[in-house]
């Protein structure tokens, strides 16, 4: 019975903790204090619920309990201040702003959640700290779960979170939804954190702790929550679309021996059509919100082109090449350019692609990037320039860190010799 109650409390915590902490942060104006109060309420629940049963509205119960603790805390602080005064200090009696507890609860909880997202992903924090704080406060993950997911020790994560909360307090970061020109930059920090969590889960491999792939689900959930909180922001829907479509391929992207399978070689029957539909719907919402082509919307649109093609041959490469043109405009980078070259080669033939790739060979940031010679080798091979192709495959093989990939590249290098006779 007690175990049942504990399991139920865990579930209630998972559902309610973010809203609870968000509401409390608005009252006490300090994320750390808010989380402590929420934890106190959780402890009270663990003590009382196994006896009394789960209350009818567990979220409201937790909030009311935490609120009482907050009032106690304020009383103690006020008392302490008075004592200091009695000690003869000549400070003006500074009335401590007593928050309006009731109004704070009735106000829009959604706004508080959004404020909590913005503060957790605030640029004063390091990226690691943003990720840890977001997963902890909004994802409801424990410190131990975050540590396992990111392959670091629990004390490291705990310290990151403590420091992050301290920084937010010291820098007096306001608990608010940024407005005007700030909004775009701050929102992109939130999106970056969510996508980083997703990618961390996406790159998990077979032997990893199950907490790692679960990060994809955590990120998707955060993204879906954010999309409901900011329905007018195209980039939010773009990121959700991108994650839904990428997640739709998770069953197809690893072979029976744990080897990665490239997009064009995947068995599309194993793609999750439900997630694809959700992804395409999210992309529609992005388009409805605005015509602007931000980086996530464009990446999602590219992913959607693949998702819509029932076979690899049906892929609309011309459209993908156009979208990569757009992506190169919004986030120009040599890696985007290389991807654009691949799309162009698929749409207009290997010679057109090679022209773009050749322009990248002097790019210093790609000097050690194995995909550059790998792509170049592939295009040269298709053009029948086997000697040059072999050299590129060999160079790519010497640059990659991945043993399976190296084998594949060396195999392709040997194939060049064979064709050459």
């Amino acid at each position: 019975m007690a175990t049942d109650a504990h399991r139920a409390i865990d579930a209630v915590w998972r559902i309610e903790s973010a809203r609870l902490i968000a509401g409390l942060t608005r009252i006490v104006r300090d994320v750390g204090v808010a989380e402590d109060l929420a934890q106190d309420a959780l402890i009270a629940a663990l003590e009382q619920w196994p006896e009394s049963g789960i209350p009818d509205k567990p979220g409201a119960w937790l909030m009311a309990t935490a609120k009482h603790r907050a009032i106690d805390l304020f009383r103690r602080r006020t008392l302490l201040e008075r004592k200091h005064e009695e000690l003869g200090r000549e400070i003006e009696v500074r009335e401590m702003a007593v928050p309006d507890f009731d109004a704070a609860i009735d106000d829009d909880i959604g706004d508080d959640l959004l404020r909590l997202m913005f503060i957790s992903c605030h640029p004063v924090l390091s990226t690691e700290a943003r990720v840890a704080l977001t997963l902890r406060l909004l994802g409801g993950l424990t410190t131990d779960e975050i540590a396992r997911a990111f392959l670091v020790s629990e004390p490291t994560v705990a310290q990151r979170i403590v420091r992050a909360k301290k920084t937010l307090a010291e820098k007096r970061v306001p608990f608010e939804v940024p407005r005007g020109p700030d909004l775009a930059a701050r929102l992109s920090s939130v999106l970056e954190v969510i996508y980083l969590v997703f990618n961390e889960g996406y790159t998990a491999t077979a032997g990893d702790d199950w907490m790692r792939p679960a990060l994809c689900e955590d990120a998707l959930r955060l993204g879906r929550i954010l999309a409901e909180l900011t329905p007018k922001e195209p980039e939010v829907h773009g990121l959700v679309a991108l994650m839904e479509i990428q997640a739709s391929r998770s069953r197809a992207r690893v072979g029976p021996l744990g080897e990665p399978i490239l997009l064009l070689d995947q068995n599309r029957a194993r793609w999750d059509q439900l997630l694809i539909r959700r992804g395409l719907a999210a992309l529609d919402r992005a388009r409805e919100a605005s015509d602007a082509l931000g980086p996530y919307v464009v990446q999602a649109a590219i992913a959607a082109c693949h998702a819509r093609a029932r076979t690899a041959e049906e892929t609309d490469w011309r459209r993908i090449a156009t979208l990569y043109d757009a992506l190169a405009q919004v986030i120009p980078s040599p890696v985007v350019e290389l991807n654009r070259a691949v799309a162009v080669s698929m749409a207009f033939g290997p010679a057109a692609g090679l022209e773009l790739v050749d322009a990248l060979t002097s790019e210093p940031s790609l000097k050690k990037y194995h995909l550059l010679p790998s792509v170049r080798g592939d295009l040269l091979f298709k053009l029948g320039r086997f000697d040059e192709a072999r050299l590129e495959f060999e160079r790519a093989a010497s640059l990659t860190q991945n043993a399976r990939e190296r084998d594949l590249l060396l195999k392709r290098a040997r194939a060049c010799e064979a064709v050459h006779g």
Binding site: R7, A8, D10, A11, V12, R14, I15, D56, G110, G140, A206, W210, P213, A214, E217, L220, R221, L222, G223, R224, I225, E228, L229, S250, R251, V254, G255, P256, L257, G258, I261, L264, D265, N267, L274, R278, A312, E313, P350, K382
Partner: protein, 145 residues
Amino acid sequence: MRIMGLLKADKESEAGVPPTRELMAEMGTFIEEIMKAGVLVATDGLQPSSKGARVKVSEGKVTVIDGPFTESKELVASYALLEVKSMAEAIEWTTRFLKVLGGGQCELRPIFEATDFPPELFPPEEAAREEAWRKEMQKKNTAKQ
């Protein structure tokens, strides 16, 4: 993890009795809440079994039986696909749903995930089929280029 919630049919759902306006409004609020929580992936209500059919194939013989079907306890009135952290979380959401509904019974069934089939349990014939399929695809791709 994904969990499918199946709401069992009862006399009213089988008779096609529409919900009251109040219930519709309350359910609307609840659906919005669970959607905003990023938990609800899909949901639909099913029409009464009188509109349905059962298809059976036994030793090559096909039998089609039109509804309605009598054993309403075994019938499903609606489904919801939830993406949750644990079975406990799905139970909590389902409890809330049933409270809004004013009572009822749901069956919760976790959905098989790719990770439920570890590589060593991947049946060899399936792996072979997968492999053949991939080779075929590769051949097609190379042929095209």
